[in-house]
């Protein structure tokens, strides 16, 4: 086997993120993904360039988008000879896309790739009831008028009621918020701590905008230049006034619309390459994607749905011999404030680390001042598949500005999975 190569993060671009059914309600996933990838192409002058791979996807898709990544590439100014793979791993999609490409770059199989993700819940497909769908298929297949008529025998108007898309877990019937509420109760995460984390996320993101941190990471879309979920004036006191969003009845619910991410539309993309490829094109190396790890746990049997990142990170640390404290930045995706707080608490918990992570003892606490320093999903929003690429881009830029250092990424996903990665400079 040849020696592994370092994987350079060359740059990233994203659209501003917007709350569902607001500024992007007329846009499709393909349009948003095209905008993000094209902006990355423009920024690095990749017009007509053949990339070895584009891994991209969306979580909420139309059946017609089965070849989303390749169709998107064909609409950009990248060489049409650039192959693309449509991928999906819930909220881990674009981070997983980056890890897949990175492994191939490291092994020498490819030299350059884009990993990207997009999501819109404004353009979700309306699904007809099973019964009505079967009738439509029968009508299509019918050859005679009689057969056609037969297809509609016993038809009731109720069948026409569309089945709304849901982000509930198919195996538990609970929504992600319900699951996270259970986790918050199990780990005794207070409402105050959640609101404080959420307010801090807004304030840090707003400060990052003010200093121009996002200027070269973002491209305007549909006249929007900033994430429209962000509230610079957000305070824990104001957030404390919101009513629980999931557990509305018991009086013990702590998750609210303020400390949970809203449904969001947007897209993000990141460019990875070998150092040689970047140098040949005169492109910068912001940081290196060192290693990733994906884990899953049995949430159906009662594990916390969004606790898998604790496992992924523990396994990643074991493989690299690093400690949880050996990082300059932590980018822990904020699906819910409670998810982040549960994760941190679990790492500090001796029993959890022994029993669930198979370690000798607790991983310990992290320096909170290094956590999500430019704000995270609670502030900017969370278009599911786009978040991984956003986070990689932010962390790479942070490390580049610092000059050297190490950062940890973790993203929790539906289905009880977690994706983690280490980025270094």
């Amino acid at each position: 086997m040849t020696e592994l190569r370092r994987v350079a993060i060359v740059g990233s671009m994203r659209t501003p993120f917007c709350r569902s059914n607001t500024a992007y309600k007329a846009l499709s996933n393909q349009e948003m993904l095209t905008t993000a990838i094209q902006a990355l192409v423009n920024q690095h002058n990749l017009h007509g360039v053949k990339l070895d791979e584009v891994n991209a996807g969306a979580v909420v898709t139309h059946a017609a988008d089965w070849n989303l990544a390749r169709e998107t590439v064909l609409g950009t100014t990248l060489s049409p000879n650039t192959p693309a793979t449509t991928i999906q791993q819930a909220c881990g999609t674009s981070l997983q896309g980056a890890l897949m490409a990175a492994a191939k770059i490291a092994s020498g199989e490819i030299d350059c790739a884009i990993a990207a993700g997009t999501d819109t819940t404004s353009d979700a497909s309306i699904v007809f009831s099973k019964k009505f769908s079967r009738r439509l298929i029968a009508v299509n297949a019918a050859k005679t008028f009689g057969q056609r008529l037969k297809a509609f025998r016993g038809f009731s108007l109720k069948e026409l009621a569309p089945v709304p898309p849901s982000n509930g877990e198919p195996r538990t019937g609970l929504s992600m918020g319900d699951h996270c509420e259970l986790m918050a109760k199990e780990w005794q995460i207070s409402r105050e701590d959640q609101d404080a984390l959420a307010a801090a996320s807004h304030q840090k993101a707003a400060a990052a905008y003010e200093e121009g941190f996002f200027d070269d990471l973002m491209t305007p879309m549909a006249g929007v230049e900033r994430d429209n979920n962000m509230r610079p004036d957000s305070t824990p006191e104001a957030l404390a006034k919101l009513r629980p969003a999931y557990d509305r009845k018991s009086g013990k619910g702590t998750l609210t619309a303020g400390n949970s991410t809203p449904l969001t539309d947007g897209a993000a993309a990141v460019l990875l390459a070998s150092e040689e490829w970047a140098a040949a094109r005169g492109l910068p190396v912001l940081a290196y994607l060192r290693m990733g790890r994906t884990s899953a746990l049995d949430f159906v049997a009662g594990e916390g749905l969004l606790m898998a990142p604790t496992v992924a990170v523990a396994e990643l640390l074991q493989r690299t011999g690093l400690g949880l404290q050996d990082f300059d930045y932590y980018e822990i995706h904020e699906a819910f404030a409670a998810q982040v707080l549960c994760t941190l608490k679990a790492w500090e918990d001796d029993t959890f680390c022994r029993e669930k992570l198979g370690l000798d003892g607790a991983l310990g606490a992290i320096d909170r001042s290094k956590l999500n320093v430019k704000g995270s999903s609670l502030a900017v929003g969370h278009p599911f598949a786009a978040t991984g690429a956003r986070v990689v881009g932010v962390l790479a830029k942070l490390l580049n500005e610092k000059g050297s250092g190490r950062g940890l990424v973790s993203v929790c996903t539906a289905g009880g999975m977690g994706v983690a990665a280490i980025i270094e400079k």
Binding site: S28, Q30, E31, T34, T35, I37, Q38, V41, N42, N45, H47, G48, E71, T72, G75, T76, T77, A222, G223
Partner: protein, 437 residues
Amino acid sequence: MKDGYMKFVHSGAGRVIAKTLGLPIPAKLRRKGAPSTLGPVLIGGGELTGLLQSQVAELGYQLGSTPKQKVHALVFDATSIKTPGELANLYRFFRQNIRRMDRCGRALVISRPPEDCDSPEQHIAMRALRGFIRSLGKEMRAGGTSQLIELSAGAEQNLPSTLSFCLSPVSAYVSAQTIRVNAVELAETADPKAPLAGQTVLVTGAARGIGRAIAETVASYGAMVIGVDVPPMQGELDKVCRDIGGRALPLDICADDAAALICEAARANGGLDCIVHNAGITRDKSLAAMSDVQWDLTMAVNLQAPLTINAALLEAGLINDGGRIVGVASISGIAGNKGQTNYAASKAGVIGMVERYSSVLSAQSISVNAVAPGFIETEMTAKIPFGIRQAGRRMSSLQQGGLPVDVAQTVAWLANPQSIGVTGNVVRVCGQNLLGA
């Protein structure tokens, strides 16, 4: 001047009536300042494709698109076409994409000047494009335009200002034009929002109509304007100049001391970076009935005064190196017009001035161009009798008259120091008027 018919067909009932009677329904042109965001630009063709893509992206246009999206512009690089047979590539590009064109879309072809081509096949193929672009202009729907840019070899850096003009709503009423861009060393790129910052521009006939729009437009791009008009118009002239922070210079350009006064004003401002010879008059009469005064006055204002003033300024070195001279011709000067032997002669003379002086002054990097307005809604055209006026408006591919600002934006493009590679061009601002085309 209001175009009542245009208003009528855009009213609910008017549209129905116009459709039933098969009357033309002119599109509402998208002009600068319209709030909508423009759709993506699709670029294809030869070796310059990548360069065009980066220049177009740099101009702030969206490049990526999905098949469902309407596109704002189709841009084809025809510079790699070597034979007439290869024109099929151009045909295919537009054939495949033309239906995706949004309203007020732009079709743009970049080619090489035919006479620069070494091989006869390429010369002929490049020449063929002029016919293509003119026909496409007539087929464009809903306010769309087409242009051909003949780019000299090595003039790639000179392209962006013209690319920007052709793609942007500022060229709303310019269609089916062939624009030649030469390779000329460029000054530092200025702030794209104020490309005329620090430039002194003198505009004659600035008190009203097209001249006023020119003064206001170049000022909006940062220019210091010296406005000239006849003393009886001083009230209007002062107001225009005050509003744009410019300087009023009331004088009759035909007066004996006009050139000297203009030189004095130019000197006081460190020389002129651009002069726009806009002042013009009509004295229409059939030749048989024309008086000497009608002939003499028209020739004096429209042609002789610009020539005298240019000569004096150049002699005194008061047109700065890299300066621009912009004449205002007319489609009458190209096509001729009944009752306008005097006017058409003067305006064709302006075209002669462009042809002659552009080559003479190229050594000093001074560009000489003219705009040739078609039917523009001003007090000049308001004098035309009703029936002819209506016909004048409709007799173009865009089926409407233009506005003074359309001419002014075209002048502003030619006045831009980044456009110095554009010289010897007569650009019609006529919505592809049938006259002389």
